[in-house]
């Protein structure tokens, strides 16, 4: 490419998320390979790019070398929202280059491309099925010369070129070494679920987001979800003065020394039924115009919350009706974890959310494919802190009753500042709930176990730890009575 780096002009793809990965889009006049096996979305990628460019007033030439006719291809994309019939023939022209290639080889194809780009003053050229060109090349050298000529031509007229092709059997192929960038698309199954991934293998002239990024193909075409870990390093944090954010549960605030530290992440851990969601709802019910709240959840729908007949739901419904709180319910489906994060952060930024409840971590865990969740969650929480959000995240553990509990994340302390543990204790025929604060970063707190219950007014925590001690003593003596063998083995008995 000619020109110094300062004069590089960007060509936005218009594909959501992709321009973020490319730090602004393609570089004008560049030659790029979009590679992937059949079915990975290359043709949709190419067409979506073309229609976006045509809408922006550019002249686009789409040349196909593949077996599928132009008519069949357009039929297949006609229902995608970016498609506009009126753009075709005006902003976008579709041509077949196969006959030129068949009759004249690479030379014939090059003449076609040169002539049509020039006569139509095309600033965008997409060649679909570029692998067919390689089939007509007599040698790797001939292919190299062709690509070089194409690159020179494109650069000279500031035409940005995309070559849609299959991955080369020879690595690196002739063209790979010469083009300005290579984007790889893959599509696979992970545990019965689809997994589509995009990876920038090469991108001259600019930095880009490294690593693999997920993407989806839906009615609006391709949407790319940049990997959260790759994004987070650009976000700075201003720690500022530490303040306390009330939880909506007065006794808990006392135990915490006034409330949760502002802009921190609190993990509420416990088995199913211990009241984690109720904790979250009470926290959210404290939302106000000055502290807008958001529940990003996978379990409770807004309609279901409104039908609950208790004081917490009533307070929360008031906050919802006033617009101080919002519930974003995510239905169970094949979600992408970076897509969930994008959606949540968009909602946070849109309303300047200050109180966030994530109910719960399990919803994100289900959306993970093959990569570990800890770096993702660490990046996500980092961004929430940067947005000055105080977050409560619920996390279910599989053990309902018992002395051991599996931590919901490895390295939990690296990711969250505050940990609340909820658990059941079974004594005789009764089930009790206990709460303890395990950690509050850089703060004093009351670490004693407390008994609590869920009432129509919400979480009711015992005034002190006496009732918890009493319960645990009863539990201990019940356990002794239930296990005569163990009693016999104790020293002194």
């Amino acid at each position: 490419m000619s020109g110094d780096a300062q004069k590089l002009t960007r060509v936005e793809s218009g594909i959501k998320g992709l321009d973020r990965v490319l730090h602004g889009g393609f570089i004008k006049g560049g030659l790029y390979i979009i590679e992937g096996v059949p079915g990975t979305g290359k043709t949709i990628f190419g067409n979506q790019f073309c229609f976006n460019q045509a809408k922006a007033g550019e002249q686009v030439l789409y040349v196909t070398l593949i077996a599928e006719t132009v008519g069949r291809m357009l039929l297949n994309i006609r229902n995608l929202s970016f498609y506009e019939d009126a753009a075709i023939g005006v902003g976008i022209v579709y041509l077949s280059g196969f006959s030129e290639l068949k009759n004249g080889g690479l030379t014939g194809l090059l003449h076609l491309l040169r002539r049509e780009v020039a006569s139509r003053r095309a600033s965008i050229l997409v060649i679909d099925g570029f692998a067919a060109a390689a089939d007509f090349a007599h040698s790797r050298e001939e292919m190299k010369v062709f690509v070089q000529q194409l690159q020179t031509q494109a650069d000279a007229v500031d035409c940005t070129v995309l070559l849609l092709t299959n991955p080369s059997e020879q690595t690196p192929s002739s063209e790979e070494t010469m083009v300005d960038g290579i984007i790889n698309l893959t599509s696979s199954l992970y545990d019965w679920r689809p997994s589509r991934e995009l990876y920038v293998r090469k991108f001259r002239g600019s930095s880009y987001l490294l690593g693999v990024h997920s993407f989806q193909i839906a009615d609006d075409g391709l949407t790319v979800y940049p990997r959260r870990e790759a994004l987070s390093s650009s976000v700075g944090i201003d720690n500022g003065e530490l303040q306390r954010v009330p939880t909506g549960i007065a006794r808990l605030d006392q135990m915490l020394g006034g409330g949760i530290p502002s802009h921190s992440i609190t993990m509420v851990v416990g088995p199913s039924g211990t009241g984690k969601t109720t904790f979250g709802m009470q926290f959210l019910a404290e939302s106000s115009a000055q502290e807008p709240g958001l529940l990003f959840g996978f379990y409770e729908t807004p309609a279901r919350i409104r039908t609950k007949a208790n004081a917490v739901a009533t307070r929360l419904t008031r906050a919802l009706d006033a617009g101080d709180a919002q519930i974003l319910w995510i239905p169970p489906s094949d979600q992408l974890i970076d897509g969930l994060a994008d959606r949540m952060l968009e909602a946070v930024q849109e309303r300047n959310v200050r109180r966030l409840v994530i109910d719960g971590l399990g919803g994100f865990k289900k959306a993970v494919r093959s990569r570990p969740i800890e770096p993702f969650f660490s990046a996500l929480t980092h961004q929430l802190r940067a947005h000055k959000v105080t977050t409560v995240c619920t996390a279910e553990v599989p053990e309902i009753i018992g002395p051991t509990m599996t931590a919901p994340l490895r390295g939990l302390s690296d990711v969250t500042e505050n940990h609340l543990l909820l658990r059941f204790v079974e004594v005789g025929a009764s089930l009790y709930r206990l709460l303890s604060i395990l950690k509050v970063r850089d703060s004093d707190f009351d670490s004693a176990l407390r008994l609590f219950s869920i009432t129509s007014n919400g979480i009711d925590i015992a005034e002190n730890s006496e009732s918890a001690e009493s319960i645990l003593s009863s539990f201990s003596s019940h356990a002794r009575r239930a296990d005569p063998v163990r009693i016999a083995q104790e020293p002194g008995r």
Binding site: T69, V70, G71, L74, I88, G89, Y94, S99, K102
Partner: protein, 131 residues
Amino acid sequence: MADGRAKTVLIVDDELGIVEVLEFILGDAGFTVISALNGEEALARLKQDTPDVVILDLMMPIMGGAEVLKAMRRDPKYSAIPVILTSALSEDTVREQCDGAYTLFMRKPFKSQQVLDAIARFLPSNSKSTH
């Protein structure tokens, strides 16, 4: 056939696959088929062999279907030849781009019977059809 000669269809399309399929369908139906891969070639072929019907694609390199239509309508030798215009676009869009100068529109992708039915509207009913 009324005058004893096989009717001639000129196919104008840059997609070689479509040209070959139409050659097969129409040849099998007893028509003489000539073809061109772009508008410039099409006008040259018109001068050599005046066809009875033209099947004309809209978007082509060098010269597109709209320009071919304009040239044909301007020339009394060709202005009366029926033109079946083909495109992947909707007819509303095509009509706007061509000022409605074509005789019939056939949206791509089309089926072989559609082609034969379209041709039958302009050519004598004793033209052979295999469908």
